[in-house]
């Protein structure tokens, strides 16, 4: 493998047919990729990265806090939260939307970037998918306990019951149940299926019996057979094609929870695309927040390269602008629509008693990401970390602003109020980070963090000397039925 400047083509607009190398460094081959990725999970326990241990301890503590808060909540009742008249959707729903939004980048990177042949995704897709699943776990928990009597949570589903009643399928809240549970399960399948070949790698490298059995079962006997790969690739393409509308539908449905109501500030048709843009925005911010330290600690800098970070920063900036556009259009429509209550809701948002939350949101989501116009800043990891974290903060505040300011002052001034969270609200939110990071750190330590097979498939050696094509897993999907294989224009037949 030769050394090349991976930036040259992207940055200087060279002949796009010659893509830059996606794995950086000298003498990188298939074996070294395997070693770099699989080596992480093969480290003996005693040699675990100190930073990982420290982070894991903190996460476990927060997870314990979450457990204590859940116990307190379930044994006492939802009155321990600050939710009260008129703000009955307080932090739990804010946190739900926050986490489910973060859970969008994973599937987006895996599915949409796969369909659009963005090969750079291979470096980060696995971790992003894992992040998706753990974020959806955190998200699902909040409405799960928000219903009050968690032991009858099965009422959410259309199960025959002794009351002879069915849920109301015309309620967006029920659509949400279907959307989020479909999303969680399909993301899980997508993640696991992508991991099977890499789990087989870990199985074949396993040195002790526990690892042999655990990875052996998880890899379900994968051999790398080309006949298997053929169906596997087709299945992966199908899953990507299915997950793409799914990922767009999920946050749209979440936005219906708000938009279908008649509350000023919620009742807007811009919500579905606005929520989806916000979700991608927050998801990419979280991917950056997680991957920048992870590549540092686990020696994956040559696989998750500065180019990955550069591209994600640009996506962050672009989606930040989309979100900013949505904010301004909301104001425009409130004015243009001429409805007194709508106008009030938005003026109140920016200059009412929650003005501070609104301006935190605008600063974090619209203003700060503009720093990424500068290439120097996109390549300064401290700046990247800082902005990705402020974006996460800003996106939490976006959901807070939408949920709480709209509810606290609606049509009737006599029923206005001011929402104050309780210590349980705060500890539960903090604890949800414990759950998220505990799962994510376990993933980093024990599962293939990077999609090895996919990374190998985009290395130059993967194409042989007779082919100059860039590998994309969907490339041979135009095969006519019955034919052994076509010869697409970008591939030289033998």
């Amino acid at each position: 493998m030769t050394i090349s400047d991976p930036n040259s083509a992207i940055q200087l607009g060279e002949d796009p047919r010659h893509r830059p190398l996606l794995v950086e460094g000298t003498g990188e081959d298939f074996g070294s990729v395997t070693q770099a990725v699989a080596g992480i999970s093969e480290q003996p326990v005693q040699q675990t990265n100190k930073a990982w241990v420290a982070a894991f301890m903190v996460s476990l503590t927060l997870l314990a806090l979450l457990g204590a808060m859940l116990f307190h909540l379930i044994t006492t009742g939802v009155g321990v939260w600050g939710n009260n008249n008129p703000v009955y959707w307080g932090w739990p729903i804010v946190n739900f939307v926050f986490w489910v939004g973060i859970g969008h980048a994973g599937t987006l990177i895996s599915a949409i970037l796969f369909l659009t042949r963005q090969n750079w995704r291979t470096g980060v897709n696995r971790a992003a998918e894992a992040m998706t699943i753990f974020a959806v776990v955190c998200a699902g928990m909040f409405p799960g306990v928000h219903i009050g009597r968690v032991w009858v949570a099965y009422w959410l589903f259309p199960l025959p019951n002794q009351m002879d009643m069915w849920p109301n399928f015309r309620s967006p809240l029920l659509w949400d149940v279907f959307a989020v549970s479909t999303y969680a399960s399909v993301s899980l399948v997508f993640w696991y299926m992508g991991m099977i070949p890499d789990l087989a790698t870990l199985r074949d490298r396993a040195s002790n019996n526990i690892r042999k059995i655990a990875y052996g079962i998880a890899a379900i006997g994968w051999t790398g057979s080309s006949r298997h790969w053929h169906r596997y690739e087709r299945a992966y393409l199908l899953l990507a094609a299915l997950a793409t509308p799914l990922v767009l539908s999920v946050h749209s449905v979440v936005s219906f929870d708000f938009a279908v109501s008649q509350l000023p500030g919620w009742h807007t048709t811009i919500f579905p695309p606005y929520f989806v843009a916000g979700a991608i925005f927050s998801g990419f911010a979280m991917v950056l927040t997680l991957m920048v330290p992870a590549r540092q600690f686990f020696g994956l800098k040559h696989i998750i390269t500065m180019n990955h970070i550069d591209v994600m920063c640009r996506i962050l900036m672009a989606t930040g602008l989309l979100v900013g556009y949505a904010y301004s259009i909301e104001f425009f429509i409130a004015w243009y629509g001429g409805v007194q209550y709508e106008s009030f809701a938005f003026v109140n948002r920016a200059f009412g008693n929650y003005w501070w939350a609104y301006w935190i949101m605008v600063s974090c989501n619209v203003i700060f990401p503009q720093i990424f116009w500068s290439k120097k800043m996109r390549r300064n990891l401290w700046v990247v970390m800082l902005v990705s974290i402020t974006t996460n903060i800003g996106m939490w505040f976006e959901r807070f602003v939408i949920t709480v300011t709209s509810l606290s002052r609606d049509f009737l001034p006599s029923s206005w109020g001011y929402f104050s969270p309780t210590w349980v609200d705060m500890c539960m939110f903090l604890g949800s980070f414990g759950l998220f990071f505990t799962l994510f750190l376990l993933f980093l330590r024990f599962l293939p963090t990077v999609a090895m097979a996919e990374v190998k498939s985009i290395m130059p050696q993967a194409h042989g000397e007779t082919s100059n094509s860039i590998h994309g897993q969907g490339d041979h999907d135009h095969a006519p039925a019955g034919g052994a294989s076509p010869a697409p224009a970008d591939r030289q037949p033998s």
Binding site: W151, W166, L174, D204, S226, E233, A235, L239, A243, S494
Partner: protein, 444 residues
């Protein structure tokens, strides 16, 4: 197949790069082998063509299951919300498709995605944990950085020598035989015992649930989730030894009057003069027309000062009278209510039935307003009082209406003469005795 091939699973050739693999794959394909495969750490481009792999039918399976998901999604929503348990939401139609699109869409995705995954596994015959290839030390590098071609002994053209020569000539890094895996990986005996016990244990919850479902018991049902069924409180009509009288419910303080229950207007509430004696239930002796004059309450002869007698009151009275009184006394007040007619048809007098009084009878006319009010409120002889059902002002409206009936219905002949009305112009008011009801009508 020769005898020695039976112990052979296949012959494995390893390659270090794609080009060697592809060249060898074409050779093996062209040699006409069917039971062979190549093994790679990642999906190799062009290998499908080099090996002659036909496109999978997976997408068609997914299409069928996606459509199944769509149908089931629609059917589920129609059955649950428009058929089995009809929801009326804001006056919208029982069945309207737009609101059902999100769930139907999610069902399509869920069905398709799971079919994709499970279909891929099924077509690949996975999970398949025991594979003779996994016993080969070199084969472990297939998931790392090596490529292999395996020609299986099960192929009908298989000949070990020729395959070795074919693969050896194809720039293979190494060619080795893969023996059939004869080691029996039986699970240890203790595992069988443990599995048997565990299997039996799993039946216990099921058995308990079945018993709870079908057996009868004296004991109350086991409450898994108490919800708010048991609270630290006393319910109404129960004992509580904490109070001297042992009741959980407290009596109001003596002299307590509930809101709106202050009865200080005697005329309005009791039909007697202010501050005079208020009778409880007066017994009217059929012959003597009530108690002696000195014992009689000071009945109100007119209407209470709080009441305004006008047409609206009479209309209200007629409406209340038709609801409460007419079933017995008849709409004309002549005692021909439906209950009375039915009693007559059944010949109910033999069981002690007393015909409802005609309000047009002379003695009824002779009652003062206060007396009629009192009878409406407290009842008389076999008639129960309606004080609990009809508010005082409505009772007065009924009194007014009864007076109107008495003045307009069943006027006697002498009075007609006095008024100068021709009796032929008037229809006579029938009495209960005029009505002939056959017992055949009794069932109606």
């Amino acid at each position: 197949m020769s005898d020695s091939n039976e112990k052979l699973h296949g012959i494995v050739a390893y390659f270090t790069d794609i080009d060697g693999l592809m060249a060898a794959a074409r050779k093996v394909r062209d040699a006409g082998y069917k039971r062979w495969d190549s093994y790679t750490p990642f999906p190799v481009h062009g290998i499908d063509e080099a090996m002659g792999i036909k496109p999978t039918i997976l997408p068609w399976i997914v299409l069928v299951m996606g459509l199944t998901g769509l149908s089931l999604g629609i059917l589920l929503q129609w059955y649950t919300n428009a058929f089995d348990y009809v929801f009326l939401i804001s006056g919208k139609p029982d069945w309207s498709l737009p609101a059902n699109i999100p769930v139907a869409f999610e069902m399509v995705i869920a069905f398709s995605a799971f079919t994709t995954f499970l279909g891929m596994l099924a077509l690949n015959k996975l999970p398949h944990l025991s594979n003779p290839l996994h016993k080969l030390e070199s084969f472990r590098r297939i998931t790392d950085d090596r490529f292999a071609i395996v020609v299986e002994a099960a192929d009908k053209n298989f000949d070990a020598g020729r395959v070795r020569a074919l693969l050896g000539a194809a720039s293979a890094e190494q060619v080795e035989d893969c023996p059939v895996d004869t080691s029996r990986a039986a699970l240890p005996l203790w595992f069988h015992g443990l599995a048997a016990i565990a299997t039996c244990l799993t039946f216990i919850p099921l058995a308990v649930a079945f018993k709870g479902r079908f057996a009868t018991s004296e004991k109350p049902r086991y409450h898994v989730w108490p919800d708010m069924d048991w609270q630290r409180k006393r319910k109404t009509q129960t004992e509580w030894e904490m109070f001297p009288d042992g009741r959980a419910m407290r009596l109001p303080v003596e002299g307590t009057i509930a809101q709106g229950e202050l009865r200080d207007d005697f005329e309005l509430y009791f039909g007697v003069d202010q501050d005079s004696f208020v009778p409880d239930r007066v017994s009217y002796d059929a012959g003597a027309m009530g108690p002696s004059a000195e014992g009689r309450p000071a009945w109100l002869t007119g209407f209470p000062t709080a009441m305004v007698v006008d047409e609206a009151l009479l209309e209200r009275g007629q409406q209340r009278y038709d609801i409460y009184c007419s079933v017995c006394h008849g709409q004309q007040g002549n005692g021909l209510g439906s209950v009375a007619l039915r009693a007559k048809a059944l010949d109910a007098q033999k069981w002690g039935w007393v015909d409802p009084k005609s309000l047009l009878a002379d003695n009824a006319k002779s009652y003062s307003n206060g007396e009629i009010f009192h009878i409406v409120s407290q009842g008389v002889s076999t008639m129960k009082g309606y004080g609990a059902q009809i508010v005082p002002r409505d009772r007065w409206a009924i009194v007014a209406y009864v007076r109107a009936l008495q003045m307009t219905q069943g006027i006697n002949r002498r009075e007609l003469n006095r008024l100068g009305v021709d009796p032929a112009d008037l229809k006579p008011v029938p009495t209960i005795d005029d009505v002939r009801v056959s017992s055949a009508d009794a069932g109606r």
